[in-house]
C-alpha cells in the first residue's frame, strides 16, 4: 500500500513546475502494481482524489528506500498507458452512485469509460496528444515512453526526497501545491474525456474496417496466394463473389433506372425496354451461378456468397420462389382477377416444384450418409469414390433450383402488365436490399448488451437510436 502511494508522491513532489504533469502519469504506475491493492482499496472505501494527495503529502512518505518501488516501475509494461483509463472508472463508478461532489463530467466519464473497458486494442493517443497539447504544459522531464521503462523516474525520486523536508516546513507551499494538483487533476479529467471519445469513434471505425475486411476477403480480394494456404475460399467461389458484387452494383443501377422511369411516367414501350433489361440482368446472375456451381457448388449451396440474413432464408443456394411470391402478393395491388389467379397458380406450382426438388435432395443426402457410414477400412477408396460421385449430383440440384427461380421471374413478367412488372421488380430489389442492410446493421449493432444493470437501459437507447437512424437508409433503395 505504502509503496503505491510512494509512487504518486514521488512524482507529485518533484517540484512545483512539474507537479501537475505527474498526477495523471502517476496513477498508471500505482494502479499497475501487480497486486492492485490500490484498486481494491478504492473499491472498499471510495475516497476523494484530493484526500489522497493530502494524505500522501501530510504523511511525508519516504520514497528513497522503498525497494518495492523498483519493481513497480520496471514491471510497468508498455501497455500500462493502455490500462490507465480502465482503472480510472472504478473510482468514478463509486462516485456516481454516491452523487459525488465532483463535476458532472465525471459521471459522463464513467459511462463512457465503462464502454471502453471492452476496448483495449487501440494504441493510446493520449500520451502523445498530451505531449503535444499546448495548455499549460511545460516539457515534462519524463515523457510517457521513458516512464514505462522506469528510467525516467529517477529525477522525481530524488526531487521528491529533496522536497520532503520542505513540505513539512512550508505548509502554505503544500496547500498551493495541493491546489495545483487539483487543477491538474481536473484538466487531466477533461483530457481523459476527450481521449475516451476518441476511443469510441475509433472503435466504431474499427468495426467498420473489420466488416469491410471480411467482405473483401469473401470477395477474394485478399487471397494472396490463390487461396491455398490461408484462404478458405476456392478460386471459383472467389471469382463468383467478385462477379456477384459487380452484379449488385448493376442491380442498383437498374433499380434507379426503374424508379426514374416509373416516376417519369414513360410510355409502355419505353418501360418495357427497361423491364426486359432488368430481367436480362437476372438471367445473367443465374448464368453466373451455373458456372460457379460447376467449380464450387458448396460455395453456392451454403450461401457463403450472400449476407447472413439472406443465408438464414436460403433454399438450395438462393431465394425460395414461393416465399417471394407470397411477399409480392401483398405488394402488387391492384391486380385483375385473372392476374390474381395467375399469381396464385404460380405460387402453387413453385411450391410443388420446390417440394419435389427438396425431396430429391433429401434422398441424395440419405444416400450420401449411407455411403459414408458404410465405408469399411478395406474398401475405403471405393466408398469415397462412390461418395464423390453422389456429391457431384449437388450441382444438378442447385442448377434446377436456379432454373426454378429464373422461370418464376419470367412467369411474373408474363402475368403482369409492363407497369406492374416494373413496380414488381422494384419491390423485389428493395426487399433484398433491405435484407442485406439488415445483415450489416446486425453485424454492427452495439455489443454493450453484455453489460447488465446500470448500463442496460443505456444500451437500449443506443439500439433504438441506431434503428431510427438506419431507417433513412431504406429510402435509398
Amino acid at each position: 500500500m505504502a509503496s503505491q502511494r510512494l509512487g504518486e508522491a514521488a512524482l507529485s513532489e518533484s517540484g512545483p513546475s512539474h507537479h501537475h504533469h505527474h498526477i495523471p502519469y502517476s496513477l498508471p504506475h500505482m494502479l499497475h502494481h501487480p497486486n492492485t491493492s490500490f484498486i481494491r482499496n478504492q473499491e472498499g472505501s471510495a475516497f476523494d482524489f484530493g484526500e489522497l494527495e493530502e494524505a500522501i503529502v501530510l504523511q511525508g512518505v519516504k520514497i528513497n528506500n522503498d525497494e518495492t518501488k523498483q519493481p513497480l516501475y520496471t514491471t510497468v509494461r508498455p501497455a500500462a498507458t493502455l490500462e490507465m483509463f480502465p482503472s480510472w472508472p472504478m473510482r468514478f463508478q463509486q462516485h456516481t452512485p454516491r452523487g459525488s461532489s465532483k463535476s458532472g463530467e465525471e459521471s459522463t466519464d464513467s459511462g463512457s469509460a465503462v464502454n471502453t473497458l471492452s476496448t483495449t486494442r487501440l494504441e493510446p493517443d493520449s500520451p502523445i496528444s498530451r505531449k503535444t497539447s499546448s495548455d499549460h504544459r511545460l516539457p515534462p522531464p519524463q515523457p510517457p515512453p521513458q516512464m514505462d521503462t522506469g528510467s525516467g523516474v529517477d529525477s522525481p525520486r530524488t526531487g521528491g526526497s529533496q522536497t520532503q523536508p520542505a513540505a513539512k516546513q512550508a505548509p502554505e507551499k503544500t496547500l498551493r501545491r495541493l491546489a495545483q494538483n487539483r487543477e491538474a487533476a481536473r484538466k487531466s479529467r477533461l483530457r481523459k474525456k476527450a481521449y475516451v471519445q476518441q476511443l469510441e469513434s475509433s472503435r466504431i471505425r474499427l468495426t467498420q474496417l473489420e466488416q469491410d475486411l471480411q467482405r473483401a476477403r469473401s470477395q477474394g480480394l485478399l487471397l494472396g496466394g490463390g487461396g491455398v494456404a490461408g484462404g478458405n475460399i476456392s478460386s471459383g467461389g472467389a471469382i463468383f463473389d467478385m462477379e456477384y458484387a459487380r452484379w449488385l452494383d448493376d442491380d442498383h443501377r437498374h433499380m434507379s433506372e426503374l424508379r426514374t422511369a416509373l416516376q417519369a411516367h414513360l410510355s409502355d414501350g419505353d418501360l418495357r425496354v427497361i423491364v426486359d433489361g432488368y430481367i436480362a440482368h437476372y438471367d445473367e446472375i443465374f448464368r453466373l451461378k451455373g458456372v460457379a456451381a460447376k467449380s464450387d457448388v458448396f460455395h453456392l449451396i451454403t450461401g457463403m456468397w450472400t449476407t447472413p440474413a439472406e443465408r438464414c432464408f436460403l433454399w438450395m443456394g438462393g431465394f425460395r420462389p414461393s416465399d417471394l411470391i407470397k411477399m409480392l402478393i401483398t405488394q402488387l395491388d391492384p391486380l385483375t382477377e385473372q392476374q390474381v389467379m395467375g399469381i396464385y397458380g404460380l405460387q402453387q406450382s413453385s411450391q410443388q416444384a420446390e417440394e419435389a426438388l427438396s425431396q430429391g435432395l433429401e434422398q441424395l443426402q440419405q444416400s450420401l450418409i449411407n455411403t459414408i457410414a458404410n465405408g469399411s477400412i478395406n474398401d475405403n477408396m471405393h466408398h469415397m469414390a462412390v461418395a464423390l460421385g453422389k456429391l457431384s449430383n449437388l450441382e444438378g440440384f442447385v442448377r434446377q433450383a436456379d432454373n426454378l427461380r429464373q422461370q418464376t421471374l419470367h412467369q411474373l413478367r408474363r402475368i403482369l402488365t409492363v407497369r406492374q412488372a416494373a413496380r414488381c421488380f422494384l419491390v423485389i430489389g428493395e426487399y433484398y436490399g433491405r435484407l442485406r442492410a439488415l445483415s450489416s446493421l446486425w453485424a454492427s449493432r452495439p455489443r454493450e448488451t453484455l453489460i447488465v444493470d446500470d448500463s442496460s437501459c443505456q444500451t437500449t437507447t443506443t439500439d433504438l437510436q441506431m434503428v431510427q437512424s438506419s431507417q433513412n437508409q431504406f429510402s435509398n433503395f
Binding site: 406450382s349 417440394e355 430429391g360 440440384f397 432454373n403 408474363r414
Partner: protein, 124 residues
C-alpha cells in the same frame, strides 16, 4: 406409379426381334399417359417422380438399370436430349417433354397441367 421391369406392352416375340431402339422408346412412351424413364439410384429422378405424385398423377416409370434393354434406351434418350444425363426424361401423351428443367419450366409457365389433362393423367 407403375413400374415396368420388362416390356409387358410387347408380345414376347418383339423382345427377340431387332427393334430399333428409338422405336422401342417411342413405343414405350406411347404406352401410358405419363411415362418417366429413370434410374433407381438417381436422385433427380426421385425428384421428378415426387413432382408428379404430388400433383396426383400416376406416371409409368421405367427403371433403366433394371430393364433388359436399359443401356440402349439410355443411349437413345441421351441423343434425344442432345447430350447430358439421359435420365430423368418425361413423355406426356406420347410426346417428349424433356428433362427436369423442361418439366419444371412447363409447370411454372402453366403449360404442364393442361398437357396432363389432355393426356388424361389429371382430372381437374
Amino acid at each position: 406409379m407403375q413400374y415396368q421391369s420388362d416390356s409387358h406392352h410387347y408380345c414376347s416375340s418383339s423382345v427377340h426381334t431387332a427393334v430399333d431402339p428409338l422405336e422401342r422408346v417411342v413405343r414405350l412412351a406411347s404406352g401410358s399417359a405419363v411415362v418417366i424413364f429413370s434410374i433407381s439410384t438417381c436422385c433427380m429422378c426421385h425428384a421428378v417422380k415426387s413432382l408428379f405424385c404430388g400433383m396426383g398423377v400416376n406416371p409409368t416409370v421405367y427403371e433403366l438399370d433394371h430393364h433388359p434393354r436399359g443401356k440402349e434406351i439410355e443411349r437413345v434418350l441421351t441423343r434425344l436430349l442432345g447430350g447430358g444425363s439421359a435420365v430423368p426424361v418425361v413423355f406426356i401423351g406420347g410426346r417428349l417433354v424433356g428433362a427436369m428443367d423442361r418439366v419444371m419450366a412447363s409447370h411454372i409457365n402453366g403449360t404442364l397441367v393442361p398437357l396432363l389433362k389432355k393426356a388424361g393423367a389429371l382430372w381437374l
